[in-house]
Amino acid sequence: MPVFNIERGESLGILIQQIINGLSLGSVYALIAVGYSLVYSILMFSNFAHGGFLVIGGYICYFVLKDMGAGILIAGFLSLLGAGAAAILTERLAYKPIREKTNNTLYLLIASMGMSIVIENIFVVTIGGRFRALPDIIPTTPIHLSGMATISAFDLISLLAAVVFLSILQLILVKTKWGLAIRAAAYNLRIASLMGVNVNLLISLTFFIAGTLASVGGIFLAVRYTLYPQLGGITIKAFVAAVIGGLGSLPGAVVGSIILGLAEMLTAGFISSQLRDLVVFFFLVITLLVRPQGLFGKDVGEKV
């Protein structure tokens, strides 16, 4: 009969396990949320096509690995490059003409929803809706922690990747003049260009970075879970995480993701799996009611 690692009543073990689960889930959210937040920080709109970049990255990796027989380094590199390029292309085709005509970011938001439908369905009509899985390029083997809980190497790697990418980005944003330019451009593109900022280049760059981050997220998701055209849809949770953390704030995106991951796992584990999403959304709304600009969002007092 079954042999369990956890003795009944060892609820500490379960708690630890759920925390590990939450951190691991949160780190994948973080990879997506950071790219999403980055685009938000400059163009001030929620880029719903971000999930699409993630899918593009995932598929490129999949096909390079499977059909071209290349190694993970090449596949990963091409997939980052491809998703980054797709992000730039999306910006050029769909967003640039709009932001040149108007300041209202709602239009960008709708265009991004359109783009996400387009990207999803390009995959549906070309390669079909089937679920695919990447080979185990990132080890998912479990490591048992003294019989209390298990953690997979994958969890550690994704957490690490999230932290590394975040730190690099944060450095760029805070320490370089380009980072400052991103924040200035976020407020007003026209005036930023009056300061000598090549705004289009800056935006393309931002999208490229966001695209590559999405692609990393996509590969992680595809390995951990599965790859299919609608995979981008789960980024909604990452959006929620970015909002909890404060839109446009990269540390916020990471902290929000971790909090969300933990909240989901602890709710499902200790309150009710049926109410998991309800609790998550409730949590989101409560956070916003207490801090309308998110945990790390800046509330710049508006002068009248």
């Binding site: 003049k177 400052l180 330019a181 924040r183 200035a184 976020a186 407020y187 007003n188 026209r190 005036i191 930023a192 260009s193 009056l194 300061m195 000598g196 900022v197 090549n198 705004v199 800046k298 710049v300 007092g301 508006e302 002068k303």
Partner: protein
């Protein structure tokens, strides 16, 4: 003299849809000059500045910088040494005063000189030094205007365009700023100035253009124009109907 003027505008036309904002505007600025443009509300002064900066597309006409065609994208214009202090402040509200000034210096290559210039700016506008870490959006109106001017100075332009720099400033500050403009000009910075405060502008500048509903209707030496018989009319901008009824 054979040398071309530093900035030369030929037959410039700009429209906003049906509204014709600039109509066949030609003007030039010699190196080291201060030239002012005056005219009433809606004459097209700001449009002229924005057209130079590439912020609005030119419908027709050409702009030359030292005889070479001027770039059309604003970031390229900046890199050619032209800077605009835009009308109505337009500081980066969510950035601090310090960060706004750093943005002003964005296109500068000689980044080791920034510290020095920052000090120069702070000596010009001591209040900005006090407010270095305040968000620009929360400054008072006049402080924002000072910041906007300071921000353009941080780029160390060869040609400085100013759109109503005296807006919302106390007289004493205006005086200081105009003095400073004269001093900068002495260091070979060419200045194009749009002012409602026409008397002050005329006193400061070498030459002046008067613009009315998109056309240049008068130009000449500032000192002469100050005593020109039509100048009174030029002040008014030759409006058909007074802007505000005076019963």
């Amino acid at each position: 003299m054979n040398e071309r003027p530093i900035l030369e505008i030929k037959d410039l036309h700009v429209s906003y849809g049906a509204i014709k904002a600039l109509n066949n505007v030609s003007l030039y600025i010699e190196e080291g000059e201060i030239v002012s443009v005056i005219g009433s509300n809606g004459a097209g002064k700001s449009t002229l500045m924005q057209a130079i900066m590439g912020l609005v597309p030119r419908e027709r006409g050409e702009i030359f910088l030292k005889g070479e065609p001027l770039a059309r994208k604003s970031y390229q214009v900046i890199n050619q040494g032209i800077t605009l202090t835009p009308e109505g402040r337009q500081v980066f509200a969510p950035l601090t005063v310090y960060e706004n000034l750093m943005m002003g210096a964005f296109s500068r290559k000689d980044r080791d000189k920034l510290e020095e210039d920052m000090n120069w700016i702070f000596s010009l506008f001591p209040i900005l030094k006090e407010r270095q870490q305040q968000y620009a959006g929360t400054l008072s109106g006049g402080e924002q205007q000072m910041l906007a001017i300071a921000r353009s100075l941080m780029s160390r332009p060869k040609i400085l365009l100013l759109d109503e720099p005296s807006l919302g400033l106390a007289p004493i500050i205006i005086k200081d700023i105009f003095e400073e403009l004269r001093r900068i000009n002495a260091e070979k910075v060419t200045i194009l100035l749009v002012e409602q405060n026409a008397r002050q502008a005329l006193k400061l500048s070498h030459r002046v253009y008067v613009i009315q509903t998109g056309n240049i209707i008068l130009q000449g030496d500032s000192k002469e124009l100050l005593s020109h018989p039509d100048v009174e009319a030029a002040y008014l901008g030759l409006r058909k109907k007074s802007a505000i009824p005076c019963d």
